[in-house]
Amino acid sequence: LADGLAAERVSALALATFSQRLFGAAGAATEGGPTALLRVGAHAIRLRFASSAAAAGVLPAWGPLLADGSAEGTPLAELFVVTSDHCGPPPSPPWGAQAYRPRDEIDGFGDASMEVCFQLATGTLVLWDAATRRGVWWTRSADAIPMWERIMPLRALLRWALRSVDVALIHGAVVGSERGGLLLAGAGGVGKSTTALAAPRAGLFTLADDYAAVAPAGPVASPVTAFAKATERTIELLPELSSRLAPLAPTPEGKRAIVLDETPLRAASSMVLRGIVLPQIGQRTAAARAVPRAAAMAALAPTTLFQLPGSRPADQRMLAEITRALPAFSLAVGPAPDAVAAALSDLLGALA
């Protein structure tokens, strides 16, 4: 036990020393570069880019969520976006070749006070310092930013930054209206995106697809990207999406980026949630059916906790608070989008 604690202290000290050098290098690299202010609900996040190319790699996903320079208050966090092709590689790390772990985690390094991960596929270092609320996202090249990152940028950093103000980044979609919202939860392939993108057929809007920021107090949901993802099958079912395709290549899985309606994203920076819906693909759409909250937690927690690096007890606590605060429903979704949208609208009407 003593050896373990000593090793933890050594790695924490090494990480702190590394982070000082990293933030120094990131600050120098972004000096005079483009900046932007991202709005996530009531919070603002300052973004500093090393180059226009780096900014162009991620900013399109946040178009309607970007605040103008007159936004009031101190930003929640400051994030540096740097590319090695423009500024050289980050300072050498204090860990070796054996430290790289699943979910991009670094063995023996990182905790809730200073999170770190490395995405091997893209050569991207991500570090978050909770004490100063600053983060670095340092990738090899702006040209090599992958499609999934362009659609939902900086997800690990956003997760850690939002956690510091008691907001969870959840793997799920949100649909709603002025009556409130529904959080659609479940692992990939259960029909979340198709259900969320069908919602406008009944006058609802899609606030978020794939990821959403949810504050347990409320609970209140906010968008973290203006893009959704859709398979070719979803676009066949919802041909109106063809006019909303983003000018991005498909993801490796063949999904296309869809530009969400900007008006509700600008207007509804946060939306009070009324319930959790667990879509399940079926032969036909049926009315939503109440299910135990444990089922909602089982649909929400694993996919959120396993998809992102640096899952901590605080993330679990927030997910549990959100689950306890909301009724949960199972929704069988058939191939007719109008029926799916109507079922969502009916449920929201009954809950609001």
Binding site: P89, P90, S92, P93, G96, A97, Q98, Y100, R101, P102, R103, D104, F118, L120, A121, T122, G123, L125, R140, S141, A144, P146, M147, W148, A187, T251, P252, P292, R293, A294, A295, A296, M297, A298, A301, P302, T303, L305, F306, Q307, S311, R312, P313, Q316, L319, A320, T323, R324
Partner: protein, 140 residues
């Protein structure tokens, strides 16, 4: 014989109870579990760690007929790496026909997230001169 101590493997295992039903998530294996009310009650009785004797007293009391079910359950928790066991956990007899009147806790396992870990194994990494992994994998 030294007392057997059973301790939930937090924080590697996350657990929450909703309306008497527990959900467990093992961050190391990618598996997660839905426990029925009896299994949830017995999981909750583990608290932050307890002895087998104390757990027995808190769950089945003097009902010796329920002891095999309790032991089977605890072995299952240990096999799934959901609890740490210090000391010897007595062998759990297989369920017999005579036991069919006693309740058996149910622990439903979900493996759909397991692939996320399997698809991302620990890599053999080559480092470049600056100490960072080389760009050996194509970006997408």
């Amino acid at each position: 014989m030294p007392e057997c101590l059973l301790t939930p493997r937090r924080p590697a295992v996350l657990d929450e109870v909703f309306d008497g039903e527990a959900v467990l998530v093992n961050l190391e294996t990618g598996l997660y579990y839905a426990l029925d009310p009896l299994a949830s009650q017995w999981w909750t009785a583990l608290g932050h760690g307890t002895t087998l004797a104390a757990l027995r007293a808190a769950t089945i009391g003097d009902d010796a007929r329920a002891e095999p079910a309790l032991l089977r359950y605890l072995h299952r928790l240990a096999d799934e790496a959901l609890v740490d066991v210090a000391g010897t956990l007595p062998r759990a007899p297989a369920a017999s026909a005579a036991e069919q009147t006693t309740a058996e806790p149910s622990l439903q396992v979900f493996r759909d997230m397991e692939d996320l870990l399997l698809l991302d194994p620990i890599h053999d990494i080559d480092l470049d001169g600056s100490g960072w992994p080389t760009a050996s994998q194509p970006s997408v």
